[in-house]
Symmetry: C2
Subunit: 510 residues, 2 copies
């Protein structure tokens, strides 16, 4: 057999493998649409029908991902004498398909369908429970969800701690130990810093910002912000949903948000966050769509980008220095008398708060660490679901200093445990850590960053993100990507330093 013949057979196999990958991604796109439509456009009566459709597609997606032909091709490619002649990008594609295949081949497809079907019912129960602020409505579903999570973890690795298995599922290489290593210093630094901010003499006047602002004006502001951060509305859309989320990919990316008449900043920061997710998807892996390297890097990195837009842009004094004038114009001068200092303070209003999604940057990570510790203990049986409200409230008091008033603002505030695997929450704080390290590098790379941002040139930071993160897709694992870009190992020190510097300035500490 000649060299060329060999090479040709390798090429064929590689192309077939990528074709199979593309097929499973198309099924995933369809799954995303079913999900989006369920929340945004579906008539309520359609839920039972939709649950069956989603279960069918989840099972199909799973089947496609573990297509036995993939297994054959992977083996043939990896053992092929020409394997070494593949480019690095091609090798990465093969590696990523293999990693996913090896992971998922352990989970039976009918279990995936059953789990998916149950998620729809659990989400419905969660919605009702939250509406009535009654945890007991959700409890039986949650208990079952915990069982499903454990079972899922057991399929993946029957010998390991189930929570650790799920951590690794979302973020390759993550362990409980690694979480503790990264989270503990952050927790240690955040708690006293929060106390300092709270006892500072610098005080926020929220009376202006809590003025009523009609939703159509808020929508106008949100669409303006989306344009600023270059979210392309020809290739995406914005709708309303009670629990903001982003879904879709490439040329069809869909964001949702929630408006509150008396809290314009809530929707604005939420749109920055979801817009960040959305921009990631619209710019990811340019030129390698429908290949594994043309996908986002990891869940943590996705959250990192979203929180980068929300915090490092949306909560920065630099952004508001340039945007405040336009903000006042767009809101028809409802907020004409708000000062820059007061606005910056408002978006960085440190407080003992109930709700994660509305928390300030500092407290936010404590909300995550709380969930991390609860998930971990729920899965290893140290605590029971039925006791969750009490434990939730006690730990909120201890960690965040907030006295929870009811289950709706407490243990029922997040949708996650009703529709996703547990082990996802840590990615939010991991994302903050990735983000801070990337942000520090951006500043180092861009000496005039402050001046540029202050004059409203957001391109300077968005282009940097595109080039260094978004367009790289999944060429690197997240910890490697951060190292590749910043030339340092991932550490929480950048986030801790950033917090200290930013909040000391805003709250006039020392």
């Amino acid at each position: 057999m000649s060299y060329y013949a060999l090479n040709y057979s390798m090429r064929k196999k590689y192309e077939e493998l990528l074709k199979l990958y593309k097929e499973s991604l198309i099924v995933e796109e369809i799954a995303m649409l079913l999900y989006w439509d369920k929340d945004v456009t579906m008539p309520s009566g359609g839920l039972k029908q939709r649950a069956e459709q989603m279960a069918f597609i989840a099972e199909l997606e799973h089947k496609k991902k573990i297509n036995p032909r993939k297994g054959e091709l992977l083996q043939q490619i990896l053992e092929h004498p020409d394997y070494e002649n593949l480019s690095d990008l091609e090798k990465r594609n093969v590696f990523l398909i293999q990693r996913e295949y090896n992971k998922l081949v352990k989970v039976p497809p009918d279990f995936v369908g059953e789990f998916q079907k149950y998620c729809v019912l659990a989400t419905e129960a969660w919605e009702k429970a939250k509406e009535k602020s009654d945890f007991t409505i959700f409890l039986p579903k949650l208990e079952k969800m915990i069982e499903y999570n454990k079972k899922y973890a057991q399929f993946l690795n029957p010998d390991a701690d189930p929570y650790e298995v799920l951590l690794d599922y979302f973020e390759s290489g993550m362990t409980i130990e690694k979480c503790d290593q990264i989270f503990n210093p952050l927790k240690k630094a955040s708690i006293p810093l929060i106390e300092k901010c709270l006892s500072s003499t610098t005080k926020l006047d929220m009376s202006i910002l809590n003025r009523s602002c009609p939703l159509d004006i808020q929508k106008k502001v949100n669409f303006d912000v989306l344009e600023l951060i270059e979210f392309d509305l020809e290739r995406g859309r914005l709708d309303e949903y009670v629990h903001p989320f982003t879904t879709g990919n490439y040329d069809d990316v869909r964001i949702t948000t929630q408006y509150f008449e008396k809290d314009i900043l809530s929707a604005l920061l939420s749109i920055m966050h979801e817009g960040g997710h959305g921009s990631y998807e619209q710019n990811v892996g340019k030129n390698s769509h429908y290949q594994p390297v043309g996908m986002y890097c990891s869940e943590g990195m996705h959250e990192g980008i979203a929180r980068f837009y929300e915090n490092f842009i949306g909560r920065s004094p630099e952004f508001w220095k340039s945007y405040l004038k336009r903000f006042k114009e767009l809101t028809e001068n409802i907020f004409a008398d708000v000062s820059l200092d007061n606005l910056v303070l408002a978006v960085n209003n440190v407080e003992h708060s109930a709700v994660r999604t509305e928390a300030d940057e500092l407290t936010y990570n404590l909300h995550i660490i709380l969930r991390y510790e609860l998930e971990r203990d729920l899965l290893n049986g140290k605590i029971e679901a039925k006791n969750l409200p009490q434990i939730w409230n006690r730990k909120t008091k201890e960690l965040i200093g907030y006295e929870v008033k009811n289950d709706a603002e407490g243990v029922l505030q997040d949708i996650h445990w009703s529709c996703e695997l547990m082990g996802y929450f840590p990615n939010y704080t991991l994302g903050n850590i990735f983000g801070a390290q990337l942000y520090a590098k951006f500043k180092k790379d861009t000496p005039n960053w402050q001046k540029e941002l202050e004059r409203g040139n957001l391109n300077i930071i968005i282009d940097w993100l595109k080039e260094n993160v978004l367009e790289k897709g999944n060429l690197f694992d997240p910890f490697e990507l951060v190292k590749e870009v910043t030339e340092e190992e991932v550490s929480s020190k950048y986030l801790i330093d950033y917090h200290k510097e930013k909040f000391s300035k805003i709250y006039d500490l020392n």
Copy 2:
């Protein structure tokens, strides 16, 4: 082997067959959502991605429908000694699955996917062409679509006339001969009746009805009408699209319509039509969902029901006698001075018109017969696509007496040839014929029908339709269903008589 063991094995096979059927219907539901979303909610940039998703699902749906396991089960069931012990309903289920299977097994799945992908592009070209009123934009796509139609027909039956194959595809048992038998008397009766109406001294004053009416008021009226005809908005929704359509089934049925500021009656009649389609789907085959008998009877019957709501209700003097007052209230008295006679005349305004969907009841069927003759000749090569605009315009003049001004209102007015198989159009008129025969029977069954309808009791007709048609699902083929309900063979005489009686009265003929 004992009787019970045999019976058990039969039961198992039957249940497996129905499970496979249900699976293909779930895939069809997903296909319908992809289609609806493309037209109603998808950002424009997503089209290429969506085309791939739709092609994938169309291919999957086809694969599911011709799953070889179905073939095996069908054979085993039909040859099983216990086959005769199945109930009539069960036998009908087996028969319907077999008929579909035998039909579709002849079409290769990759052809279906390729065709589906092309349809998306053809629809896009049609939209552009219609917008610019330029047939040449659509022509190359149409030529290819004709090839696809011929190929499709050839797969189904290589020896028969392709158009005849497609007619039978949509309406089992339909032939060119049968069409001619039904359409020719109708054509013969309609043309002189139209001329009589046009030369009548009874004249319509459209100046009032063409008053500008804000779209939000029109929407209010449309939602009111949907409630009247018992379209359930908990299990359905209404949106806008340039070419009104209905999609979905059972508990998730979606209607679209188009509003014109200066033509409130257009949207109102369109919502009656689509609402009729929607009600069919919401009420179809009660207690037998996800079984073949729990589906609509045929394409022609679906159109028949839609046009039943639109014409026999929405264009009836009886309906307007009760609804006019409410109509005036809802439209905030914009139409306060319109008389009942003038309104009835407006919804029955016979004219030499360009556009099928806005045509009066009489002329409508001539629009269909025109399309029928063109489709037939396009597929058997008697005419060429490139000559279509001229032929269209000439025939419109001959049959309908209208001088077509441009391609947008002429050959490009309908979406069908860009996204469906040819051979569908005749179903509209067939539906009118079914409807008229059913309507006559309803009147016979309900001596006080006129009084009840005049006092706004629409239930009397809707309940009759539910019981006699909608809830029967697909227990009978369409011609048999009409015969079962009306105790007579299908004939165009009821439609012809209805036309004569109604228009003689409205236009004061004799």
